[in-house]
Symmetry: C2
DNA sequence: CCAGGATCAGCAACCAACCCGACACAGCAC
DNA sequence: GTGCTGTGTCGGGTTGGTTGCTGATCCTGG
């Protein structure tokens, strides 16, 4: 253990959450080269669904009985308050697990988040009971799930990092970098975030307001750091953007 | 599915994260009534350690090779920036798993958080390899870990909720409620948060500054909502405190 | 293809919350 | 005693929330 002054980078470069679908298969199910997706699809009571953008996957208060895995698209977990205000708790990408609450105990429990399709979503799901049984029958299924959940935790924790920045500019920059990591597709002029993001949606994710996001995005665009074309943001150079931390 | 106007509460009352140690044992290891703690303690290469308050458990940059479970006390995961600024990513309580990064892939990876004992900590740990092997031998171990991780995710997500509040007052109140949930011990005059929290520590957890926390805590105390005795906060009535959301 | 509505982006003026810097003092350890 | 850490307080200045309005863009159904 050396001192406390090693290379701490502000750019979220968690190696393990870098590439979607990077979960390495290990164990018996893996020997057949099964991915988590194929495992879940093979379970009793599983289903494959396509959900249109904006449609609800589950409501708060619904019973938590299934586990979901995103095959394509993005899902937004949010919390709705009495005031009508809504905040985004997580933006889940391909290969993300959600609805894991249902795995927690044997007892019934209810969803407390609202899950909506942020884009058109293809996903597979299975009853929590089947998942539990599958784990007992084939331990490598447990391992796959474990790895999926671990990467969810890392994702969520980088989001916490983003949210503890005090000034909104840093917060926005940090969030954009997270989005590049999770939803970025490289192009010839930079990384394009493959989501149609309204300013309002960004505000709800980082705890700000629509007006502020408009202003800050305008600044970043004027400084030649990014470009917005039909609600899709292209970050020209993530490294340069990362220098924008205050 | 009924309408969108059901009882959304701002008070974090996630049933499944309510009581520490509420992970219900299911499966083969569980038939011997094994808890996650006993399972890990029984693994090859496991160790039981006691860490003094303020001591480091692992540094960023250290190789990620062990999985930890807190038996007693609290652990702080934080990120240190070049500027010397430090933010808290998670405050982990008894029965929380951490260091799960090491489970992710077969390859080597490095810690990117700093884990320090926030109180005196008793914990058990085991090499990631042993944990993997244990899962393969006994599937119910996987289930136990899965449940541990699920509850970590829920915990982290409520923290995100806390951090998306726009005004610091709401953020502080929300954080205090989270602390009551995770570290609260009921007494005759309310719930006491069993941590010695400096204002600075709170600021680092909710993305604010020491001065602001001092002011806001002063307000709450003056309004008869809480009491601070030798750095331990007692919330008289969480419900009343929850009304303090702006 | 176009009309009409809904959602979204951009802008300005106002104002307060809160960050910053600075300082004084209390408690505790050594 | 002397540090050290933590708490309490005060102004000045700025970020960013709020409100309100306008025009652009997108979507849908005729």
């Amino acid at each position: 253990m050396v001192g406390a002054t090693r290379g701490f980078s502000r750019y979220p470069s968690n190696p393990s959450t870098g590439a979607p679908g990077s979960v390495a298969p290990i164990g018996a199910a893996a020997q057949a080269n099964l991915t988590l997706l194929e495992v879940i699809r093979g379970l009793n009571g599983s289903s494959v669904e396509t959900i249109e953008r904006g449609k609800t996957i589950f409501f708060p208060g619904d019973p938590a009985e299934r586990v979901y895995l995103i095959r394509r698209g993005a899902v937004r977990l949010s919390r709705v308050y009495e005031s009508g205000e809504e905040i985004t708790v997580a933006l889940l990408r391909e290969n993300s697990l959600f609805g894991v609450l249902s795995l927690l105990t044997g007892q019934r429990s209810d969803r407390f988040y609202h899950a909506i399709a942020f884009t058109r979503v293809e996903m597979v799901s299975a009853p929590a009971g089947s998942v539990r049984k599958a784990i007992e029958e084939d331990a490598s299924v447990g391992l796959l799930l474990l790895q999926g959940l671990s990467s969810r935790i890392l994702q969520t924790e980088t989001m916490i990092e983003t949210l503890t920045h005090r000034d909104m500019s840093s917060r926005l920059v940090s969030f954009l970098l997270v989005l590049c990591r999770d939803f970025g597709v490289p192009g010839n002029s930079g990384i394009t975030i493959d989501l149609r993001l309204s300013h309002q949606a960004i505000a709800e994710a980082i705890g700000s307001t629509r007006v502020t996001i408009t202003r800050l995005l305008g600044d970043l665009r004027q400084d030649g750091l990014l470009q917005i074309d039909r609600k899709k943001i292209t970050v020209f150079d993530p490294i340069a953007l990362a220098k924008r931390f205050s």
